[in-house]
């Protein structure tokens, strides 16, 4: 059950959100909770239901089951009150190729009943400047490159001051310079107090700009939380380089540690299977819904301290040539949750 107070703090909340296309369940019981003011990364392989979820949030598609509220109001019933406060880039940019970039933005701005007509030109110019398209404002969009269209799409999301930005793959087609600009743009938007919901399959991107993230896989939400929680900090891996592999394995076993990923480059990689967060669901169970497998952002309290491992190794006469403590990365977590293969699920 959702407490009213918490709902107000959530920019986006979905409850059991599902979408069926024919026989296929594209989105299956998703409970998202996007806190206000967060930069929320929405991760998942291609075809995992990210864009369908976004379409339902924005009232473009109806939910088969479940409900969505955005900025505390039910969608799609309250779209009239919600959408003017939301800037969106959905499934890539789309424009009239026969109109100039600026004319395209004026057109879309005219569609917003709350947009002030007298400031339209100035706002369009400002948005174009913000994404570095001032020099191409008068050019027909037909002549734009993919990256320029992407920038124009972001400019469209910034036409009015927004409380929430929903950016679906914002760096798609952008050059490294453009990607950097988008990152700093997202940071500046968040610094101004807006909530930014970024869908991406680029983990590095999410890791750099997001405070929170959720992972979709085959239509289901498989993890959600702060970035620290998702990185699964409780799971520290130890990489040991030694000629006495057999001896070291015995020590690891005595310490209750298990091999992880086997030997790589002649090093032993071990982790502590007794993760700190195994006691239950992560953090706020209500907010996280059915994503129980998410580990707590546990400190290595229960786990073996790395220095204790070294001491034990030395005591056992293992010649330690190299020793490293590795944090679990978001990528590891992502792959663990969504599988390795390139195959698109479903």
């Amino acid at each position: 059950m959702t407490v009213a107070g918490r709902s107000a703090e959530l920019a986006i909340e979905t409850r059991g959100l599902s979408k069926r296309f024919g026989h296929q369940l594209a989105v299956d019981g998703v409970n998202l909770a996007v806190p206000r003011g967060s930069v929320f990364g929405f991760l998942g392989p291609n075809g995992s239901g990210k864009t369908t979820t976004i379409r339902m949030m924005l009232g473009l598609a109806g939910a088969t089951r479940g409900s969505v509220s955005v900025l505390g109001l039910e969608m799609p019933e309250r779209f009239h009150d919600v959408l003017p406060r939301v800037g969106a880039l959905v499934e890539g940019p789309a424009f009239y190729p026969f109109l100039s970039g600026a004319a395209n933005l004026r057109r879309l701005d005219a569609a917003d009943p709350y947009a002030v007509q007298s400031t339209r030109r100035a706002r369009v110019e400002a948005a174009l400047e913000r994404v570095g398209l001032t020099h191409a404002a008068g050019k027909k969009v037909r002549a734009y490159s993919l990256g320029m269209k992407q920038r124009l799409g972001i400019a469209n999301a910034l036409l009015s001051p927004r409380e929430l930005l929903v950016l679906d793959e914002p760096t798609n087609g952008l050059d490294p310079q453009g990607t950097r600009e988008v990152r700093s743009l997202v940071r500046s938007l968040a610094a101004d107090g807006a909530t930014v919901f970024v869908s991406s399959h680029l983990l590095a991107e999410v890791e750099q700009i997001c405070t929170h993230a959720a992972v979709m896989s085959a239509g289901r939400l498989v993890a959600q939380g702060t970035l620290a929680e998702l990185r699964d900090e409780g799971k520290v891996r130890i990489r040991l380089v030694t000629p006495d592999a057999g001896l070291a394995e015995g020590v690891f076993a005595r310490l209750g540690m298990t091999p992880m990923g086997g030997r790589s480059n002649g090093a032993l990689v071990y982790g502590d299977s007794r993760r700190a967060g195994d006691t239950g669901t992560a953090g706020d169970a209500g907010q996280l819904g059915d994503t129980g497998q998410l580990g707590d952002a546990g400190q290595s309290g229960v786990a073996v301290e790395p220095e204790a491992v070294v001491a034990a190794m030395v005591a056992a006469g293992v010649r330690v040539r190299g020793f490293a403590v590795e944090q679990g990365s978001l990528e590891d977590r992502f792959v663990a949750l969504t599988g390795e293969g390139f195959d698109i699920a479903q």
């Binding site: 959905v90 890539g92 569609a111 009943p113 709350y114 469209n156 001051p161 500046s188 807006a194």
Partner: protein
């Protein structure tokens, strides 16, 4: 960058009417090269017709489209003759393109999702789109009529016009009659536009909706020619398309104008409701 006011807009400002969106729709429609091409093609009909008549010797009475033989006597007849020529195919063709493009065109470009997220509002967008198509229905016959009157005036003598009832009116009055005929055709095309709007909500492929709309106009006219289906004739949107001859009598017989308007209003109501029912619940996935 001024961006401080991001945080709170608790009570959104007063919503504007749909007028800015309508203005934008009309500007997009009429600044588009395709629209210009279609209007130029329509204008070419009276021009070609007038030039052909001018360079050839006198047209024997009773051959070619109605009124064609009158052109040489009075240039103002070019407009009426050209409208008559355009009714079965050219006007429905261009209207089919515009009406079929309304929603499907936006869906095909992907701009539909951005208009809806703006948020244009589905009902408002549908109304604006229909208003745009209706505006084209006003402009298209007007272009034919005015291009016809213009080229006729340039190539042929202009004088008092003899009406179908035998009465003679001044050239000024004749121009008013010409505009009335154009208005009659505007009304005639509104039903077809509503059909096109509905078909346009069914697909994301604009060409499909355009073709379907044009086929609908052809089928309606073909069925209108079949005596076996006579019971159906009064219900066809093309039933009164050629009824504008009544406007060329003295005094003007408004009966067909009224029946036509009623029939077209019926089509607007039915297909408008169908378009509404379809579009409001449609998943926009394009």
């Amino acid at each position: 960058m001024p961006n401080k006011e991001v945080v709170a807009t608790d009570a959104p400002a007063k919503a504007s009417s749909g007028l800015p969106l309508l203005a934008s729709e009309l500007s997009v429609l009429f600044r588009r090269r395709r629209t210009w091409a279609m209007l130029l093609a329509l204008a070419a009909v009276p021009v070609l017709m007038a030039i052909a008549v001018r360079v050839s010797s006198a047209v024997p009475p009773g051959r070619g489209p109605a009124f064609l033989d009158r052109i040489t006597q009075n240039g103002l007849f070019v407009g009426v003759t050209a409208l008559l020529v355009c009714v079965p195919l050219f006007l429905p063709l261009t209207v089919g393109v515009v009406a079929g493009d309304t929603i499907a065109g936006e869906a095909g470009l992907g701009t539909l999702r951005y208009l809806l997220v703006a948020p244009a509002g589905r009902v408002r967008l549908l109304l604006v789109k229909y208003a745009g198509a209706a505006a084209f229905c006003i402009v298209a016959p007007l272009v034919v009529a005015l291009a016809g009157a213009g080229i006729g005036t340039a190539l042929f003598p202009v004088g008092p016009v003899t009406l179908l009832s035998g009465d003679v009116i001044t050239p000024g009055e004749a121009v008013v009659r010409l505009l009335l005929v154009a208005a009659y055709l505007t009304v005639s095309l509104l039903g077809l536009s509503a059909v096109g709007l509905f078909l346009s909500t069914l697909t994301d492929v604009p060409v499909g909706a355009m073709a379907a709309t044009i086929v609908a106009s052809v089928v309606s006219q073909v069925v209108g020619e079949l005596p076996q289906l006579e019971w159906l004739h009064p219900w066809l949107f093309s039933h009164y398309w050629f009824g504008f001859a009544d406007l060329l009598r003295q005094p003007i017989a408004w009966d067909s104008f009224g029946s036509n308007a009623l029939l077209q209003a019926g089509y607007i109501a039915v297909f408008g409701a169908l378009a509404y029912g379809r579009f409001v619940t449609k998943d926009v996935l394009s």
